[in-house]
Structures are given as structure tokens and as C-alpha cells.
């Protein structure tokens, strides 16, 4: 126990140190390199950042639940691809090339349902058939990379969908007139709100309800949970299915913000599922921490537009790599995180 408190203290110090370093770099770069930070940190940037962070946050919260319950769901990336392609397909099947907002919402819902079903099959492989979690998770990614574009070519004759429609902003009268906060919170995509809501709800459930304690116990001390008469396998099933559903929703949100599906290269998900895993590690297995970490990666993802408007000449392809480099840096500085002790262990009930 004392180890844990020491660890928390060290973690807080690291976090504070990290923030200080970021601030120092920002100040240095304004003065030394004459970087127009004011041009970069605009309201529009924060709005785009929130939109870019939402899919990562959703997937991260899902992955966090699975890992808390003792199952490492490394397949988040794959589920996100399925979520994105399903959302685009359903939207297209309902509304053709000119779908309306209702079609898009049904598409998002459909993607979540489909990914829930896939996640159930995945959970059966992991929990019942004791599949190697790392290999099976990678496989989900490969399957997504194959069947996602396959479905796109089947529907549209191309790896990319035609332009569908993107999520309209939700404008709250009066409140949206407020300076800064107005456009950020009261004139933005409802999916940003959805992600924030999921983060708070996930925190409450995990740390304040008995279901949350079951999930934590399934990952830390499955024997105790079993003794208390709770079926460990069932808790893990629930957590893995939830993680797949959230990653699928995340992929759907990504598609809904972009307004079309892109299936070239590594598809439009392009590593966000992997970044989500790092987000919850960085957030120290706390749903709100994971969402906050997602903001960081979302911001890095959107820097490119800011650099362009601020007149900073850097090739797009290199600016696009910032999030990936950040992930490597975060993992290195943050080091290993204390995973739940029974992660990856298959639990056989004694009876």
C-alpha cells in the first residue's frame, strides 16, 4: 500500500514537471524562435482539438475498462476501423450521397451495435477460449484493415466513401454568445458533449458503484471476487464488450466529424486506437485522466491547420507525425504503468 502512495506522489510530480516543460517550451519558442503562439492557440483550434480528442477519449475509456477487468484489449484500433466504416455504410445506405442528420445518427448507433456484436465474439475468444490477448488484439486490427476497405470497395467501388455529411454543431441560444466558452461549449458538435458525458459517467461507475468495484476486483484479485459469489468471466465479458462498443463509437464519431470514410493507407483511424491505449495509460487508468490525455493528442493532431494559418512552413507529412512521436515520448518519460495485477491471466473458477 505504501508503495502505491509513493507511486502516486511520484506520478503527480512527473505530471507537474511535464506541464512545466510544455509551458517552458512554449515560452522559449515564442521568444527565441519568434513563434506566434497567440496565432496557434485560437478558439477555433480548441474547438477542433475537442472534436479530434472525442474519438480517442471514447476508445481510451473502453480500453481502460477492459484492462481494469483483467483483459488487455489491444484491438481498439480494429474496432475503431469497423466503427468508422459501419457508420459510413449505414449512413450511405439510408440517405445515399445526400444523407441528413438523422441518417448520420442512425449510422453512429448502427456502428456501435455492430461493434458490440463483434466485441462479443472477440470476448468469447479471449475469455472462453483463452486466446493470446496480444496476438488476438493485433489480429482484430488486421481484420479491420482488410474488411474495412473491402466493405468500402464493395459499396463505393473505392476505398474511400463519397462525401456524406458531417455532424452539425449544436447551438444553445444565448449561452453560445458568451466569449470563448460560448463557441467552445455551446456551439459545438454534440458528439464532443457525448464523449465528455461518457468520461464522467465511466468515472462514476468505475469508482463509485459496485459494478465498478467488480470490474476492478476482476483485474486485481479475481479469487476474492469469485469467493464473493460474482462470476469473474461474466464481469470480464461485460468489460470487453463495452470496450469494443466504445471503440466502435469512437470510430463512428471520427467518421461523423470528418463527414466521409477514408480507407486508404491505414484507414482514417490511422493509429488513433493505439494512441487511445497510451491515453489511458497516461491518464493512469482514470476515465477523466484518459479523456484529458486524449485532449493532448487531439491538440497535436490539429496543429497542422494552426501552423498553416500562423504561416509556419513545415511539411504536412512531418507535422502529422507529432502525435506518434508524442506517444513514444510519453511512454518513455511516463515509463511503465502499474497494470492491474491479473491482466492477461485466465481465471478458472474452482467450482
Amino acid at each position: 500500500m505504501s508503495g502505491a502512495t509513493l507511486e502516486t506522489g511520484e506520478r503527480t510530480r512527473l505530471l507537474v514537471g511535464g506541464v512545466l516543460v510544455v509551458v517552458a517550451i512554449a515560452v522559449l519558442s515564442t521568444t527565441v524562435f519568434d513563434l506566434p503562439v497567440a496565432d496557434i492557440l485560437t478558439v477555433g483550434f480548441v474547438e477542433r482539438l475537442l472534436q479530434a480528442a472525442s474519438p480517442i477519449a471514447l476508445a481510451a475509456i473502453g480500453g481502460l475498462y477492459a484492462e481494469k477487468s483483467g483483459v488487455f484489449n489491444i484491438g481498439l484500433e480494429g474496432f475503431m476501423i469497423f466503427g468508422a466504416v459501419t457508420a459510413a455504410s449505414v449512413t450511405f445506405l439510408l440517405g445515399g450521397e445526400g444523407p441528413n442528420q438523422a441518417d448520420l445518427w442512425v449510422g453512429i448507433l448502427g456502428a456501435t451495435v455492430v461493434c458490440t456484436l463483434f466485441a462479443f465474439a472477440f470476448a468469447v475468444l479471449l475469455v472462453r477460449y483463452q486466446a493470446n490477448q496480444i496476438v488476438a488484439g493485433l489480429a482484430v486490427w488486421f481484420v479491420g484493415l482488410g474488411f474495412g476497405p473491402f466493405l468500402a470497395v464493395l459499396l463505393w467501388g473505392n476505398r474511400n466513401s463519397p462525401g456524406l455529411t458531417s455532424m452539425n454543431d449544436l447551438t444553445v441560444p444565448v449561452l453560445s454568445e458568451l466569449p470563448v466558452v460560448g463557441p467552445l461549449l455551446f456551439d459545438t458538435s454534440p458528439l464532443v458533449w457525448l464523449a465528455a458525458l461518457v468520461a464522467v459517467a465511466a468515472w462514476v461507475v468505475l469508482f463509485r458503484t459496485k459494478y465498478g468495484y467488480w470490474i476492478q476486483a476482476a483485474g486485481e484479485n479475481p479469487e476474492a471476487l469469485d469467493t464473493a459469489g460474482i462470476d469473474v468471466a461474466r464481469v470480464r465479458y461485460a468489460a470487453v464488450v463495452f470496450s469494443g462498443a466504445m471503440a466502435g463509437l469512437g470510430g463512428a464519431v471520427l467518421m461523423a466529424h470528418a463527414g466521409s470514410f477514408t480507407g486508404t493507407g491505414d484507414t482514417m483511424v490511422n493509429g488513433r486506437g493505439w494512441i487511445a491505449i497510451v491515453a489511458y495509460l497516461f491518464g493512469n487508468y482514470n476515465p477523466i485522466g484518459a479523456a484529458a490525455a486524449a485532449l493532448l493528442f487531439g491538440g497535436l493532431d490539429m496543429l497542422q491547420i494552426q501552423f498553416q494559418t500562423a504561416g509556419i512552413e513545415l511539411p504536412n507529412r512531418l507535422v502529422n507525425l507529432f502525435p506518434y512521436v508524442a506517444v513514444v515520448v510519453v511512454l518513455t518519460v511516463w515509463g511503465s504503468t502499474r497494470m492491474p495485477s491479473a491482466v492477461g491471466e485466465h481465471y478458472e473458477s474452482e467450482e
Binding site: 488476438a136 482488410g146 464493395l154 511512454l331 518519460v333 511503465s336 502499474r338 492477461g344
Partner: protein, 377 residues
């Protein structure tokens, strides 16, 4: 704190490795065959559901992989690269290190080969002998560059506890992005419309000898087999190999017998990257003859994971496994020309093979239930 923490991942890997080693050779063969057949069956169901003729599709798969000499040459072309990337993955997985970054290391190696040869070529007379020298130097540069690129996540894992699965995946994106930028801009061949480097000189190429296919050379295939042999010997006969394999099998036992766990991780990653570098060089010299945007060169480094797993991470097993996936890739090229079925299906089927290989218990239970468990158990 960190001893405790890295213990978590370590245990996970130990358990995975221990479980994989539970299987006998016969069981592994059965698992590989069953996984492939089941994945193909699901692929056929998808083909049928999408409104195509599954029988025609299956015929196309065979026709396109080993149907005639040109199909076979194409299969061997893919197989050559897959053998090398597959061995690169196998080295790491065998030692319990999950190097998912072979794709990135392969890209770095191939690009460095082309750049090195283009840079050195003007200094030597244009002759076949100079061609051989250039190819050797280019491959050497690739081995060094890719080895270093793989050593980085190895060091980060060993000394900072950064999970190598995620860092190597991120470094794949970085390699593709940076090399893509370089061939688009600074290293684009003069007057090239496409984002490609200049072509390698004519005399820098491997002799064809047997097949007509300009992209396949028996010499390249022989190089791949030579690397397999070298790695197999290294794993079984040398101390380095012994340390690696023991670490993969049981971390605790390895540490107890005096293996430096951290150094072994770095060595493993470096070796794995070096072989990926050879793969990149062979791909650049034998297949492409220049370097293009790595976003479009094929996923040899990822398919290699399927290859290695199917081969139970055994370097010798990688050869037949590569033949299977080389055949699938070759069938993919054939299907994309001769059939309307979207070729991405092949990638999906490869993914399904990996999924099923991860779950031996699935087939064991199925075998027990149907009473066919004789050779499975």
C-alpha cells in the same frame, strides 16, 4: 516501482510464451492448417454474401498462386520478402519481445539501400562487378540503419519501461511519414512526376536465372534462405541465441542463470531490425529498383507477424508459412486483375488466420466435441 511494473508485462509475455510452448509440433501443424482453412471458409462466406461466386473465387486463389510458371514466380517474389520479414518477427517473438515495428524497419532499410547505392554509384565504374559491390554496401547500410531503428524501442523498453508494442507501432507511422516526405521532396528523382527516388543503375540488379518475372531472382530467394539458416544456427548454437530463447521461455529462469535481461531485449530488437533491413534491401533491389512512398509498398512487415505466428516463431517454420502467405498475396494480385472481388478481402483473411492462431483452445474444444480429438490432444 519499476521492477514491479515491468513485472506485469513480463509475466504476461512469459505466460503467452509458456502456453505457446505447450503445443507439440503436430499440434502446431494442425493449428496452422485449421486456422488457415477456417479463415478461408469465412472468406468464402463473405464472398458469397457479397454476391460473388465463391467457387470461382477459390479457383482464382489457386490459379493466381501456383497455377502456372508466372503465378509461381510471383508467389516466390512475395515469399522471398516474407521469409526475411517473418524471420525478423520470429527472432523477437521467440525472445518474448513484441516487435510490431518490422514494417517500419523494413521501410527504413529499403530506403537507405536505395539512397546509399545512388550516392556511391557515380564513384565506381559502371560494371557488373561494381553492381555487386554496390548491392553489398547498400544491404550493409540497410542492416545498420534498420538495426539502429529497431534498437531505439529496445532501449526505451529495457531502460525506461516503454511498452514496445505501442512504441514500435508508432515508429512504423513515423518511418512511413518521414520516408514518404523524403521521396516526395528532397530525394525525389530529377524530373520524376511520381514521388519516387531516381532508379538504381541497370547493372545493380540480381540475375533472373530461372523465371521470366523481372521482379524475382533465385539469388534473392537464396539470400533469404541463407538468413534463415544463419538465424536458426544463432538461436540454437550460440550463447546470444540461448539467452534470447531462454528469456522468451521463462524470464525468471533466464535471470537466475545470469542473463542480463535488459541487454538481451536490446540485442533481440537490434537483431530483429537487422534482418528486417535485409528484407528492405532485397525488396528495393530485387522488386522495385527505386524507392517510392512507403504508404503504398505493401504490408510485408505486418503479414510477417502472421507468418511468424503460423510458424510458431521458429525460423525454419517461417519458410513454409511464407510460401502460404506469399501464395495468398500473389492470388491477391491475380484477383485484382481477373476478378471483381475486392482484393482487400485477402488482407482480411490473413487477419483471420492470425486471430485463429491466437486461440488454439478453440480448435481443441471443437476437436474434443466432435470426437476428432485424436491427433489434436
Amino acid at each position: 516501482m519499476s521492477a514491479d511494473d515491468s513485472g506485469g508485462i513480463r509475466d504476461l509475455l512469459d505466460r503467452a510464451a509458456a502456453r505457446a510452448l505447450d503445443l507439440t509440433v503436430l499440434e502446431r501443424l494442425a493449428l496452422a492448417a485449421a486456422s488457415t482453412v477456417l479463415a478461408l471458409c469465412i472468406g468464402l462466406v463473405v464472398v458469397a454474401a457479397a454476391g460473388y461466386d465463391p467457387v470461382a473465387f477459390l479457383a482464382n486463389v489457386f490459379e493466381g498462386s501456383f497455377g502456372d510458371a508466372s503465378a509461381t514466380a510471383r508467389t516466390l517474389k512475395f515469399t522471398t520478402v516474407l521469409v526475411l520479414t517473418g524471420v525478423a518477427v520470429a527472432i523477437a517473438f521467440r525472445a518474448g519481445v513484441f516487435n510490431i515495428g518490422v514494417q517500419g524497419q523494413f521501410v527504413v532499410g529499403g530506403f537507405v539501400t536505395v539512397v546509399t547505392i545512388l550516392w556511391l554509384a557515380p564513384m565506381l565504374p559502371a560494371s557488373p562487378a561494381a553492381g555487386v559491390v554496390l548491392m553489398v554496401l547498400g544491404t550493409f547500410a540497410a542492416v545498420v540503419a534498420a538495426g539502429l531503428y529497431a534498437a531505439l524501442p529496445g532501449v526505451l523498453k529495457a531502460y525506461a519501461g516503454a511498452n514496445e508494442i505501442i512504441t514500435t507501432i508508432m515508429l512504423n507511422f513515423v518511418a512511413t511519414g518521414v520516408v514518404g516526405y523524403l521521396v516526395e521532396g528532397p530525394f525525389r528523382g530529377e524530373g520524376n512526376r511520381a514521388p519516387n527516388t531516381a532508379r538504381l543503375p541497370e547493372y545493380v540488379s540480381l540475375p533472373r536465372v530461372v523465371f521470366e518475372n523481372p521482379d524475382f531472382s533465385v539469388v534473392g530467394f537464396a539470400v533469404a534462405l541463407l538468413v534463415v539458416a544463419l538465424v536458426a544456427v544463432l538461436m540454437v548454437r550460440t550463447t546470444v541465441g540461448y539467452d534470447m530463447v531462454t528469456s522468451g521461455y521463462q524470464q525468471a529462469a533466464a535471470t537466475y542463470s545470469g542473463v542480463d535481461a535488459k541487454r538481451t531485449i536490446v540485442t533481440t530488437m537490434t537483431l530483429s531490425g537487422m534482418v528486417a533491413g535485409v528484407a528492405g534491401a532485397v525488396f528495393a533491389i530485387m522488386i522495385q529498383g527505386y524507392y517510392s512512398d512507403p504508404a503504398g509498398i505493401g504490408t510485408y512487415g505486418f503479414d510477417a507477424i502472421a507468418v511468424s505466428l503460423l510458424a510458431a516463431n521458429n525460423p525454419l517454420g517461417v519458410v513454409p508459412a511464407s510460401l502460404l502467405f506469399g501464395g495468398l498475396d500473389s492470388a491477391g494480385s491475380y484477383i485484382s486483375i481477373n476478378s471483381d472481388v475486392p482484393v482487400q478481402l485477402i488482407d482480411g483473411i490473413v487477419g483471420l488466420v492470425v486471430l485463429f492462431v491466437a486461440a488454439p483452445e478453440l480448435f481443441r474444444m471443437a476437436a474434443r466435441r466432435t470426437g476428432l480429438g485424436g491427433e489434436e490432444r
